[in-house]
Structures are given as C-alpha cells and as structure tokens.
C-alpha cells in the first residue's frame, strides 16, 4: 500500500481563528482607547488651561497645546502676595492636616476592628459588620444634615477634629472591609504559633499579623487619604470659615472673587492632583492587590 502524503495548509486552518482573534483584539483595543480618552481628556484639558495665558482661554479655535505656554497661573495662585494666592498656604495646610489625620486614624481604628471581625465570634457580629458595610449604600450627601446638626451641637464646626470625624464616617467602613480581607487571607495558625511561642494575643497581632499586613495598611491609608483630600460637600459645610477651608473648597472662590478665573482654577486643580498622582504612582501595586483580595475573600 502506498501512503498518500497528507498535505495540510496551516494557513487554511489557522486563518478563520486568527482573523476572529484579530477582529476581537481590535475591538477590545478601540473600546479601551475610547475609555482611556474619556478618562484622560478632562485631565488634558485641565493641564492645558492651567498653562494658558488668561486671555487665551476662550480663543477660537481651541488649542489643546497652547501657543504661549506660561507658568504664571501657578505662581499667581500660590503667591501669598497676590489676591488669589493669599490663602493657598492655609488651604494646603488644612487639607494636609485633615487628610493625613483621617488616613492615620482610619488605619489605627480599622486594623483592630477588622481583625476582630476576621477572627472572633461575638454576639451581634453579623449585624455590626452589616452596619459597617451599610454605610456604603448611601451617598455622602445623605449624612450631611445630621452631621452638621451633630457637629454644631458638639461645637465642632470649623475645627479640624470635626472635619476629621466626619471623614472617618466614610473612610472607616471601607478601611475595615479592606483590612478584613487581608486578615482573612492570613492563616490563623500563624497567631496560634505566636501565642505558643510566647506572645499574648495582642502581641501576636502586633508582632506577626500587622507586619504581614503592611501592603493592606498602606493601601487603606492611601485610600483614606485620597478620599479626604478630594472631599468637597462636608468640607464646604463643616469648615466654612476662611482660615479653615480645604483646597477643594478654596478652589470654588475662583468663581465669585475673581469672576470665573478659569486658568487660576485649573492651575489649582493641577496642584491638588499632584500629591494624589504621586502617591498612586508609587503605591498602586499595593492598592490593586488590596482591592482584589478584599473583593475575593471578604
């Protein structure tokens, strides 16, 4: 018997599949590019306006890349001697104090709380955990009036403490949820081993569990910082005196005081974004892992 060589044209087999994959890939990339554009365009516009001379803002046709880029706006909004830059330092300081304190307190309070939710059985645990998560079902603005009434009667309006407390109402629930995911991922045998090796319960938490949760603690702190840094309605209503305003609130005065100073507004917006962008660039790896871990294991 003679054997008939079987001829196969690899292209004939691969082609339909390959074409489909190529089409699919193209569609995915086009979609993603549209999303990227959607997210990036406002940022590009912001930076573009920030480096335009004031007179060039409404020029037509609009140039994304300005003809005469200038840093004047940045100088104007930050210089203590100019009218619009007079309070920049105060606002910046206020924002920093409130955001750093919110972030630090979130981590300090959320870590033991999340650990308790992760490890212990206690009466009312389910209800308590639900209460923590239920906070996230409502928009911030819903709690503004009750918080305002509370802060007024506690005489905490126009204080750092009041604003920090208000910020903790939304940074804590997510911090607890994020950190619980992290603690759930750590085998309980580790702290059992530590307790047998000579630690108290608290010692085991402090010496073994916390060091292992560093990425989670970092992510939680960043998240809380960014939330507090960007927050607007609470800051507007709970810290309204001139020397207590935060940057996002201070920004709004570019409208009333200087009859819509768009370039100043955008320059300030760029400056406000910088700390957030820097933090994200360095720590986004932690942040992503924290979010996914929490999502899967919570």
């Amino acid at each position: 018997m003679t054997s008939i060589p079987i001829q196969v044209n690899p292209a004939a087999i691969l082609k339909p599949k390959k074409r489909r994959t190529l089409l699919k890939t193209t569609l995915i990339y086009v979609g993603l590019m549209l999303f990227a554009l959607f997210a990036a365009l406002p940022m590009v516009w912001m930076v573009s306006t920030a480096i335009k001379p004031r007179t060039a803002v409404f020029q037509e046709p609009t140039n994304i890349i300005p003809n005469n880029p200038t840093m004047d706006n940045f100088i104007r909004v930050t210089q203590p001697l100019t009218p619009s830059g007079r309070y920049f330092g105060t606002y910046f300081l206020n924002s920093t104090i409130v955001s750093v304190a919110s972030a630090a307190l979130s981590v300090v309070v959320a870590a033991p709380a999340a650990y308790a939710f992760s490890r212990f059985r206690f009466p009312g645990k389910g209800a308590a955990y639900f209460a923590v998560l239920a906070r996230n079902m409502f928009p911030l603005i819903v709690f503004l009036i009750p918080l305002f009434t509370l802060m007024t009667s506690l005489r905490l309006t126009n204080t750092y403490g009041g604003l920090i407390l208000a910020y903790l109402t939304f940074t804590l629930p997510l911090s607890i949820w994020l950190l619980k995911g992290f603690f759930d991922g750590i085998p309980p045998e580790l702290e059992r081993a530590a307790r047998i090796d000579g630690c108290t319960r608290f010692g085991a938490f402090f010496r073994i569990i916390l060091p292992l949760t560093t990425p989670g603690l970092a992510a939680t702190a960043i998240y809380s910082f960014v939330q507090a840094w960007n927050e607007f309605p609470y800051a507007l209503n709970l810290a309204f005196s001139t020397n207590m305003r935060t940057l996002p609130v201070g920004m709004t005065f570019f409208f009333s005081e200087n009859s819509s100073d768009w370039t100043g507004l955008m320059a300030t917006a760029v400056i406000i974004s910088v700390p957030v962008v820097i933090i994200f660039m360095f720590l986004q790896r932690y942040f992503v892992s924290a979010l996914t871990q929490g999502a899967v294991k919570a």
Binding site: E189, R192, A193, I196, G198, C199, T200
Partner: protein, 367 residues
C-alpha cells in the same frame, strides 16, 4: 519533659458536643497519637491541651500542674502545625529564634540553641532564607526546629506530615520517630492516617464523635479492637465486618445470615457466641485471616462467595468478594492470581483471629 493528664474534658459549641468526656494519660517520654476521622474531636482535644481553645469542663494537667487557666505561652508546650505556620516575613534563623527571644533568653544562648537545632535537623545552610524559598520538607524541618529550640515539656503535633508528598512522608515519619527517641520527648500527635499512628506511636487513642473509642498500644488496637469503629478504622484494607445471627443447633452455636451458615469449630468462639447478649452480632475478620480456599484445599467449613474484583498490588493481591449483599476483602500472596468477576470462590476462616461484636452496642464480645 513531662506527663500530660487529660481528665474528663468536655468541649461544647452551643448544643454541639465536640469533645465528650475525654480522659487520657500520656506518660513522660511517650509518643501518643490521637487518631480518627475529621470532625472526631482530635484536633479540638489537642488545641485544648495547647490552650488555644478554652475547655468547657474537665481538667488538664501538664507535669503535675493544672493548666486550665494558663495562656498557651505559659504551658511549656511547643506545637507543630499542618501548614507549618512559619512566619513568612522572618528568615529561618529568626523563625527559630522567635520563641527564645520572646522568653528573654540572651543573644549568645539564642544563637547557640538555634544553631544546635539547625544542626540536628540538617537545615544549617538554610538559616538565611525566607520560608517561601524552602521546599515543603524543609519548611517541615524548620517548624520542628522552632518547636525544639525551647526544650518544651510536651510537643503537640497537628497532622504535621499531611502536606508532604507520599514518599517524603514515609521518610519524615522515621525521622520524627528517631528525633522523639533522641530527645526523649513527650509527644501528642494528631492524625487521620492510621498508618502514621501505627508506625510511630507508643499508644493510640482512636477517637470518633468526640469520644475515645479505644486507648492502647498499636498492637492492641489492631489485634483487639474494642468495637466495630476501631476495627474498621485501623488496618488497610479495613477489617471485614459481616452482619450475622447467632443460631443454636445440635448443641453448637453457629453464625447465619442469608448467604452464610457457619459453625465455628474452636471452643473460644463457641464460648463467645454462648454469652452473646443478643443474637444479632457482627463478625469481624481481617483479610489475612480469611484466605482463599483454592483448588486442592479442603472445601470443608468454608464460606462461599463470588468474585467482584481482583486488585494486584505487587506482593499481595487483594480480592474483593460478594457474600450475598455484603462485600468483603480477602487476599492472597500469589501475585499471579487471576479470577473473573462472578466466579464462585470459597473462603477459609482463621477462627483464632475471628472477632465477634454485639450488633447493637458495637462493642467487642471478646475479652
């Protein structure tokens, strides 16, 4: 080293009883295994001894001292966990050093003890590595080392070998036993693997449903099982258990069911059947005591069944046989033995190794 006395210990979770009046005495330098299926209360018993779980009632003594209210760190125990529980952010050296550091032992002595333990366990070259850079077997050694460095009164081990592959497990089994003898250690060891229990233990506590079913030497639990649970749990393949009724005919006692009619010849078995509290019994017999009655052998006083499957394993061939609706396992040393499903087969019974259990209480009628 010290003895451990577990006295009438109970653990309940709400209305669930996890550990039901367990009493055990573990002598100094003894290797005792808590053996049973998952959920039998063996790990709970171990964790209560460690102080990781509070006991509901009862007393635990270590070295003569009641430890009920002592923290784990104050009980002078060391524990090895199934997943090793090495501290991932510490090096091997720091892992070994941690229990010593926690006890405020000075640096020179810590170093000497860590290096000594590493030497014994042959992990000296790994001291600078992190746990994730080690193989399972190496992690296992580090976990043992961390337990050893403190010279604890008692070693508690919770399935320490079950995460290792089969070959390494056999190897570590002998190393662990060797180490225990060398250190003169008191060990309480938890496993669900009866082979581990048989090979390493001085005594085995077979547990089921929160209770100790039998506490004795490996030989004891293998050859004199106290009840059908122990009989079916110890040994591989498990002991054959056949439901039967005791009948009395022509002045002799016999065993009968729909497929079986057997008159034991030995006086011992006759005496046991004579004092059976009810006529419902369970006959227990290991595969070795129920050989195939092959061609040329006397067919008298055999029981008849039909071949289900034949399993050659190299040196022994296991033969699964159907006795009516019951299923038993016999064996033959003939490695070339072949049979077809459905073939009739005769089995001999070695009456010296026949066990009779009461069907209702499941306890052995042989004392």
């Amino acid at each position: 080293m010290a003895e451990v006395i577990i006295d009438n210990v109970v653990k309940t979770y709400g209305s669930t009883i996890a550990v039901n009046h367990v009493s055990l005495t573990v002598n100094d330098n003894e290797f005792v295994t808590l053996l049973g299926p998952s959920g039998c209360g063996k790990t709970t018993t171990l964790n209560m001894t460690a102080g990781l779980i509070e006991i509901t009632s009862g007393i635990i003594r270590i070295g003569g001292k009641v430890v009920n209210d002592l923290d784990p760190k104050d009980r002078d125990i060391a524990m090895v966990f199934q997943n090793y529980a090495l501290y991932p952010h510490k090096t091997v050296y720091q892992n070994l050093e941690f229990p010593l550091r926690m006890r405020g032992i000075d640096k020179a002595e810590r170093d000497q003890r860590v290096r000594n333990a590493a030497e014994i366990l042959n992990i000296s070259m790994l001291l600078d590595r992190k746990p994730r850079q080690l193989s399972g077997g190496q992690q296992q050694r580090v976990a043992l080392g961390r337990a050893m460095v403190r010279n604890p009164a008692v070693f508690l081990m919770d399935e320490p070998l079950s995460n290792l592959d089969a070959k390494l497990r056999v190897h570590m089994r002998s190393e662990l036993k060797h180490l225990q003898l060398r250190l003169g250690a008191t060990v309480i060891y938890v496993t669900h693997d009866q082979l581990e229990a048989m090979t390493m233990s001085d005594k085995i506590a077979v547990m089921s449903q929160g209770k100790v079913q039998q506490y004795g030497t490996p030989t004891d639990v293998f050859h004199h099982p106290a009840n059908t649970f122990v009989a079916s749990f110890i040994g591989s393949p498990p002991m054959n258990l056949i439901n039967a009724s005791v009948v009395h005919e022509n002045g002799q006692y016999g065993l009968k069911n729909s497929n079986l009619h057997y008159i034991p010849q030995s006086a011992r078995v006759q005496a046991v059947l004579a004092r059976a509290p009810s006529q419902d019994v369970v006959v227990g017999i290991r595969h070795t005591a129920m050989p195939l009655a092959l061609n040329g052998h006397a067919k008298e006083n055999t029981i008849m069944g039909e071949i289900y499957t034949v399993e050659p394993t190299g040196d022994t061939t296991f033969v699964h046989i159907k006795l009516g609706d019951q299923h038993v396992i016999s064996s033959t040393p003939d490695a070339s033995y072949m049979a077809r499903t459905g073939d009739a087969i005769a089995l001999k019974l070695d009456e010296d190794h026949l066990h009779i259990f009461d069907a209702e209480s499941t306890t052995s009628l042989i004392h």
